[in-house]
Amino acid sequence: MSISGLIIFAVANLTVLGLAVYCFAKVFRMPAEHMQAPIKIDTGEFEKFEDFPDNNQASKS
């Protein structure tokens, strides 16, 4: 391997390795939290909601 090849090899591998170590160190340093699906609440309302954008278009047409 030539000197320039060795330099590129070292720079490319160290860059990727450094980035990986930085990212995983940050991920593992964060407090462990468990993700859970939202609680289902039965509101009894389901037919028409004004806040859904498509409803406005439908009512105009």
């Binding site: 590129i8 990727v16 980035l19 289902k40 389901f46 028409k48 859904f52």
Partner: protein
């Protein structure tokens, strides 16, 4: 028909942050990291290839990856929808753009059909290597591969038919569906949490073996590790002036990171408002790069150079399948303890393949669940039937035309097209400012300042370049114009068009239910729907 709140089932979700990162990384890390990347790099300037490669990673890979994570969480948390048609339909207010979401179902399903077959080759080669069928230098490895896959004339010394290939395919297909059936957190996430470290460990063992090979043949002292690494990494700076080298780097980054499939969007849709997307996206992409550059760049080509020399390696690097299933078995047959290291190598490829294929059907499963109110069992069974038929057509067609055609249209054309649609929606429908604000919610690191400029102007240009290159190569280049489509190619194209039409119809039929579901979800989860 209206759906009632009691019909709104509890959404699936991730158990841990590491789980979602490893699942996305697993989706990205595949056979291409270990077999395609070294060949592409060696043919496009060696070490010099790393310059356009890292530029493409920064300007194309990371920005599109972040935009997909942001869009997925934004659409998912506000609408409760997870499929590509659902999220795109919600973001575009039910407009025509939701039909682009059909591509987000079609592409992964088609790729799954051939990917799972290639995955089964890895399982079979792991078995053939450890059982000694491949561990002998006198084996004609090219003929072995052709007869096993049915690509040769059929009936020969090693395999009389594709029955063995079909049996290994059935095992691989069953493993995949058993894991997919278990669900997002209990199946995909749990598998990726142990499979990814095992995969990296296997790769590290093989890297250690390759780097300590020295010059195994005293008669050929030039065929050593140092020169093997030089073959891969010595830069040919003149290549940087060649536009094709830059396009090759964009293509490699693009397909390697699994962006534009709609898979990341689906995975991110299960996250909540306070869950980070910026660091998670960067970590998953970096893990893919680690597997590609630090592991993939040190195994295949240096090992091939040590045993086959300059000319043999240069020839082998031209074909991904040739490198993986003809050259590498030959090398393991010549290598001390080759049977063990060959088994580790094909096991690592198999794990890389499974972690990728597991993710491919999740968008379609989510679509069937939310669009037709099917349970997971029914959705998985429906998709198992469709993909099984497609894979069988590929296996028993005895030709590489089918695989090449599926890959060319679904992967090389479909993925950049869907990615471009996603970037356009991110920039013009969500808006870059709102997208950046969304990215900041719960972020464990800051989005860089250059992100809005790059995602608005640079990434779409790169994607247009990749699409333009595809159209030139397929319709305008002199070699392609003179070439006529074979019957198999034509049938494959017609089959894919039929499947695409089916997904368009399903998206059309499913939209009213998805819309209603989104309204219901938004009302039940007002805190998630807030800006």
């Amino acid at each position: 028909m209206a759906i009632s709140p009691s019909q709104l089932p509890e959404r699936e979700g991730w158990s841990t942050k590491l789980g979602v990162i490893l699942a996305v990384a697993g989706s990205a890390v595949g056979l291409g990291n270990f077999l395609r990347f070294p060949g592409v790099a060696a043919q496009n300037g060696g070490g010099a290839f790393m310059v356009p490669y890292f530029v493409a990673f920064l300007l194309l890979g990371i920005p599109i990856c972040w935009s997909e994570w942001i869009m997925g969480r934004y659409g998912g948390r506000r609408s409760g929808l997870s499929s590509c048609p659902g999220i795109l339909g919600y973001l575009c207010r039910g407009g025509v753009m939701r039909y682009f979401g059909a591509l987000g179902l079609f592409i992964p399903v088609v790729i799954y059909m051939y990917y799972v077959y290639i995955e089964s080759w890895c399982l079979a080669y792991a078995w053939f290597t450890v059982s000694g069928q491949l561990g002998r230098a006198e084996v004609n490895f090219a003929e072995f591969f052709n007869q096993y896959t049915g690509l040769g004339s059929g009936g020969g010394e090693y395999f009389g038919s594709v029955v063995a290939a079909f049996l290994f395919f059935l095992v691989t297909f069953f493993i995949n569906f058993a894991l997919i059936y278990r669900g997002l957190s209990k199946g995909i996430e749990k598998f990726c949490i142990w499979a990814m470290p095992v995969l990296v460990l296997c790769a590290l063992f093989i890297v250690a073996r390759v780097l300590t090979l020295g010059a195994p043949n005293p008669a050929l002292p030039d065929q050593n590790v140092n020169n093997g690494l030089g073959f891969m990494w010595n830069p040919k700076w003149g290549a940087l002036a060649d536009a094709d080298v830059w396009l090759a780097a964009c293509g490699q980054i693009f397909f390697s990171l699994s962006i534009g499939f709609g898979i990341i969007m689906t995975y991110a849709s299960y996250l909540k408002k306070k869950d980070d997307v910026v660091l998670s996206g960067l970590t998953a992409s970096t893990m893919n790069e680690f597997c590609e550059v630090c592991l993939g760049g040190l195994i295949v080509l240096p090992a091939a150079f040590i045993f086959l020399g300059m000319a043999g390696t240069a020839e082998a690097a031209k074909s991904t399948f040739g490198l993986g299933f003809v050259t590498m078995p030959h090398i393991f047959a010549l290598m001390p303890l080759g049977r063990i290291f060959g088994f580790l190598f094909y096991t690592l490829l198999f794990l890389a393949g499974v972690t990728s294929s597991l993710s491919m059907l999740q968008p379609a499963i989510a679509f069937l669940e939310e669009g037709f109110n099917l349970g997971r069992r029914a959705s998985v069974t429906f998709l198992a039937l469709i993909t099984f038929m497609g894979s069988c057509a590929l296996i028993f067609s005895h030709g590489s035309d089918v695989l090449g055609t599926m890959d060319n249209y679904a992967s090389n054309l479909g993925i950049p097209l869907l990615a471009l649609a996603q970037v356009v929606i991110f920039v013009f429908v969500i808006g870059v400012d709102r997208g950046v604000r969304e990215g900041r919610l719960g972020a464990d690191m800051r989005l860089p300042r250059w992100f809005p400029f790059v995602i608005t102007y640079v990434s779409p240009l790169f994607l247009c370049g990749i699409l333009g290159s595809w159209f030139y190569q397929n319709f305008l280049s002199p070699s392609r114009v003179e070439e006529e489509l074979s019957v198999l190619e034509l049938n494959t194209i017609l089959g894919m068009l039929g499947l695409l039409a089916l997904f368009f119809v399903l998206v059309h039929l499913a939209w009213p239910r998805m819309r209603q579901r989104a309204m219901l979800y938004a009302r039940q989860n007002p805190e998630e729907a807030q800006e």
